[in-house]
């Protein structure tokens, strides 16, 4: 899922400062699961805004709505009449949702979240990055552990000299991806695979190749 976190409330309040009527629009997909922008969090944010603005003596009218997914126009357009009632939309979706909606509206669409990464749940309430969308998956070579997203230096040929006790030099709380890969490949009896030199990676398929579009001709309308 896409993992995001709520922006500091100060920042959100600043961004909506000019407006007296806003819509807080939640997204009930990825950001709901990572507890950043689903209906519950959107509701809390809306309440926080009302309280903060009343406390600051500048009342604001906050409408609330949460849609299934903000990355599809149909869900967004279903709430059309709401957008007409407000001066700006504060979206608790990931950056995708904010842009998707922005493209549909003439009023500002403001992000309430910082979108962080694609990841999975580590423990309840903790998520970690697992993929950076490089467009050319190497997991087959690395025992199912991605060095592109999980090694601080994106190394493809083994751990750097900073790997100590299985941890990354960048953050002692982070596992060294290469230690994990070596352990996993050892367990799979495929360590010899790691002796092969992985050539320079083709980053064209990654974001370095420019904004990407994915098309499935066979399913197009």
């Amino acid at each position: 899922m896409i993992v995001a976190e709520q922006k500091p409330i100060e920042e959100v309040l600043k961004s909506i400062e000019p407006f007296d009527k806003i819509l807080v629009l939640g997204c009930n997909t990825c950001v709901a699961v990572c507890m950043a922008g689903g209906e519950k969090e959107a509701g809390i944010l809306a309440s926080m805004i009302r309280l903060a603005r009343e406390k600051a003596g500048k009342l604001v009218d906050v409408l609330e709505k949460t849609v299934e997914r903000q990355c599809d126009d149909e869900f967004l357009l279903a709430e059309k009449e709401l957008y007409d009632k407000v001066e700006a939309v504060l979206s608790t979706a990931c950056g995708v949702g904010v842009q998707q909606l922005s493209a549909l509206l003439q009023i500002p669409v403001l992000p309430a979240l910082n979108t962080k990464f694609m990841g999975g749940t580590k423990d309840h309430g903790t998520w970690s990055e697992r993929c950076s969308g490089c467009g050319d998956c190497v997991l087959e070579l690395t025992g199912g552990i991605c060095p592109v997203s999980r090694c601080a230096k994106t190394l493809l040929n083994g751990p750097c000299g900073g790997s100590a006790d299985g941890k990354c030099e960048v953050n002692p709380d982070t596992d060294c991806a290469w230690q994990l890969i070596i352990d996993r490949m050892t367990a799979l009896e495929r360590l010899d695979k790691l002796l092969e030199i992985q050539p320079a990676k083709n980053w064209k398929t990654a974001r370095d190749g420019g904004p990407r579009t994915q098309t499935r001709e066979d399913v197009k309308l």
Partner: protein, 143 residues
Amino acid sequence: MAEFSPRITLFCCESCGFPAAERAVKQGYSLSPECRLIKIPCTGKLDVLYILKAFEAGSDGVAIAGCPEDACRYETGSLRAKNKFDKTRAILEKIGIEPERIKRWQVSSSMGEKFSRLLSAMEEELANLGPLFPDRLKKRGDN
């Protein structure tokens, strides 16, 4: 203006907080008309939103009255309530509201006296803090 009587919303769990309040009243504690009890099965049911909404509803303070952490009828409920309490305090601080306006009490059902003591102390503290939204207080009087 008459003396300010703080509006307090109390989220009380069915097993401990609410019976403690009942007990307090039976023991002669007189609940201010601005104190409102909202009964929930467990303070673990409490949502951050409930607390914020209570403030939106003009509460000058919110109290969470639940079971002692180690004696919660629903095992983890009281601890979950603690997380929400901490989180809400942090939120209040960031949006310019005194975090002292929320309290979390661990009371067992028999602690009527403790309940009344805590509530009285809270009322006093809130009276000193003053109303959350002074403008609303005037309207309240009109009603």
